[in-house]
Subunit: 277 residues, 4 copies
């Protein structure tokens, strides 16, 4: 018997929990876990219920729809592996962490392809029998390059696109094409040191903590809704490359954890924020 | 309009959320926040709903009772300051942290008294116009001493008793008299170094992390349900007194945070565990 | 027999450790602890040696001076309590934490006075028999107000001035008058949310981590050399006031820890950085 | 010009730093970094100096030897990749993390072989062109099995043996054969839940924090000197397998960090402790 995740995102109003739980009760479903959250500030209601049982999906969705405000977003997501595509450049730590989880059965996803703008990671990716596609940006107009990547990604119809240290800025065409599907790892807290070498800036500033932030990509670079953050402590004995290396540990764990949350349908996005249920 | 916390702890069964939300809906209550948790392993259901509105408390409790399994524990707790009593010995850090929160209006409690087995903290406590009662254990049989403390505490009918570094072991008479009401701070993780000077043991062992655990007191010393834990990093340059001092920072923050959770009725106890909603 | 801390900050060159250790050996001093650090990037050498023994302070300083490059800064600091002055506004958490450490003998300092621009904390401070001076800024030109504070502080000749949530920006006259003596606590990492209500901004941004930074004050507001940083985890269930309250725990511990480092002469400042030995 | 690490571990006495720095000065060596530590409690002196320059290694070692107490341990270790052997069983997370660092050039080591008592990890290891040796323990006496592993390891003459979730207890013959060379990762703090399924025990206890400890292996199982520790936060919503998965993230990062410290010759062992310089 499969499990399904019923995901609801709607304007709040009195009786929502009552109305939804009534339907689930009438369908005689098993509720494996249930979590809801109301943001009173913006009057939004979020719910994630994991259900199992024998039921007609279309009919359930119809019944839930009828019980909710018109603006409700409702999704019934099966508890199976999601297809994902990974974008990378040259660095192996985030990609490698995902690959090891993949090969040891810890990742609830099928990696359909790794796309990079350099050949550097080809040999690593192919060890795992995953298609590696290099789309170099050399000599290409930015828009042309992105369109080529979009086309390549679209072949795989992924549910999540992971930027595992993909070091190029993405235009809004790209971001809008894959709205709320792109997960990025940022080498810092947000707000953060801006510009070419953030670890060098952090080192010059003598920070005692290095952070990492996994977030959805919106057209505002490095400004999308935050999914996960963590830190590592450093001190004056760290050179800026030591800080960068310490940062890698955090980056990879934060990105992989955030990816796990997305694959489990635990992240709701609204405004510039997330609710994680 | 006051807020109430409806707290339910019961055997799980199908339709619980539906049945409860139906009642709340029929009473036309505002649901400020709602959280529930089911422990499938032991088939237990926990719920904490903050409600506001105009309603008959007794009738609501009756209606909820009828809708739940027989073994259900139901509580309607008003969102007001709870009375607490603090037990201490000589150390000021945990007590002091609670006093500063108290005086600056951050503590959702009335401190009815501080009871200690030494005079050391008298002057500190009295600065805050809180009754300080010294009940020395000198020359007293353990049971006699505890009975005197029980009698003193009972005068204040506190909802929570905080052991803020009270350095004496409590008998089961005491623990049972105040069942699920006593919060202790332990100078370590659990399980932990056992015996006279845990920080010295930790130092001898060369640990790189010092922890602290706030937990309910059960008749099994230092073994009650955990409410909160945190850590601080140390290294080989720390003497054992440095480790103890580093530990104090963690102890006071962990204890105060745990106390905050109790005062907000966010902690459910079952078996040797807690659920925090 | 007293302990002294020999503090050296100089351009690096070959043989420094040899030359200094030769002098200390010839004086037959006990070396309690010794730590040095070289920043190769800027060719700077830092050393903190705790010595004990019977010796002529002036002569030792002279001999060390002769053995070091001309730009060397040398200090011999006795291991005794330093005089400090605290500036505050209305919030009690950071001040309160320092007061509790003070009263329980954990603070290696004499608090000469607390100066505030509001009366709010008067009653708290006077509980501890510490002079409280209110210098309201109402109706005063900023420069005039600061000059009054400078004059008041100067009476006490403190070695450290602690801004324990002093909520006003300090002019460069003030900062330069107390160069490398002012310790501030910042409600965030640096770089950080800028402007009126950083916690509200953090909340709007949906951050998962709240930080705090203790730093020396330079004329660049919130941009001085960092002494200590720490974080606390938050999630979407936190309102912005919850985030602020969570932040208070971190702020007070970070500030008190940083203050401890200053009182132990463990912090060297250079450029916009610190070395902590 | 190569860098060397001069590593000294000796009884403390007056003038040690002076005597050693004199020799280094007379050899006209560049001191890249220098760190020392004295444990006053046991009167032990530790020093790690990174030197570069043109010098006669044997002569330098002789001169240093003459300047130190008789019990001194002195080592001159070249800054090159060390040979290591990894032992594993079935779990991929720790091994995988090391492999990814290895392939991306972040690991300062040559992995000579991975030895396991199961075939599970064979395909992963061979992707990286590293010899995989399966030595099953099935039907073998424990001592016989270990002797076979010892023989296999000895072929590679490794400087470090990493137990990357090797799930079998090692006899004292094994431990003594590779004294101070075996690094293990433990799924908890130390002291810890003991026995078959520590994560299940931690879950039953309702812990709020999961830790991991990397330590040298001594004949006392899970009781050797600690090199590194870290934690991850968990809550009541975690099943014991969720706790185990959360623990994996910590385990791999702690083990890889500890391994990095060993490869950099930064860890000194004495008694049941480490000093990390």
């Amino acid at each position: 018997m499969s499990e399904y995740r019923l995901l609801i995102d709607t304007t709040d109003e009195k009786g929502l929990v009552y109305n939804i739980s009534k339907i689930l009760f009438n369908y005689n479903l098993n509720i494996e876990t249930n979590a809801e959250y109301v943001d009173k500030e913006v009057n939004k209601f979020f719910m994630r219920t994991v259900i199992s049982g024998d039921f007609d999906k279309t009919q359930l969705l119809n019944d839930v729809r009828k019980a909710l405000p018109e603006d409700a977003t409702i999704k019934l997501s099966k508890n199976t592996k999601k297809d994902i595509v990974i974008l990378a450049t040259k660095e192996a730590h985030c990609l490698g962490d995902i690959l090891i989880r993949y090969v040891s059965g810890e990742l609830n996803a099928n990696i359909k392809a790794v796309i990079a703008n350099h050949e550097t990671l080809k040999s690593l990716v192919e060890k795992f029998n995953i298609p590696f596609v290099c789309i170099s940006h050399e000599g290409l107009d930015r828009q042309v390059h992105e369109d080529m990547i979009i086309q390549e990604i679209d072949k795989f119809e992924p549910e999540v696109i992971v930027l595992a240290k993909y070091m190029r800025i993405l235009n809004s065409t790209f971001v809008n094409h894959f709205e709320n599907k792109i997960l990025n790892i940022h080498h810092s807290f947000l707000p953060a040191f801006i510009g070419a070498n953030p670890y060098k800036q952090a080192w010059q500033r003598g920070v005692k903590i290095i952070g990492a932030t996994a977030h959805y990509v919106t057209s505002d670079l490095d400004e999308g809704p935050i999914v996960a953050q963590d830190i590592v402590r450093v001190d004056h004995t760290y050179s800026w490359t030591d800080m960068r290396d310490a940062g890698k540990n955090v980056e990879k764990v934060v990105l992989s954890n955030a990816l796990g949350l997305l694959l489990d349908d635990r992240v709701f996005v609204y405004g510039n924020k997330t609710v994680i249920l």
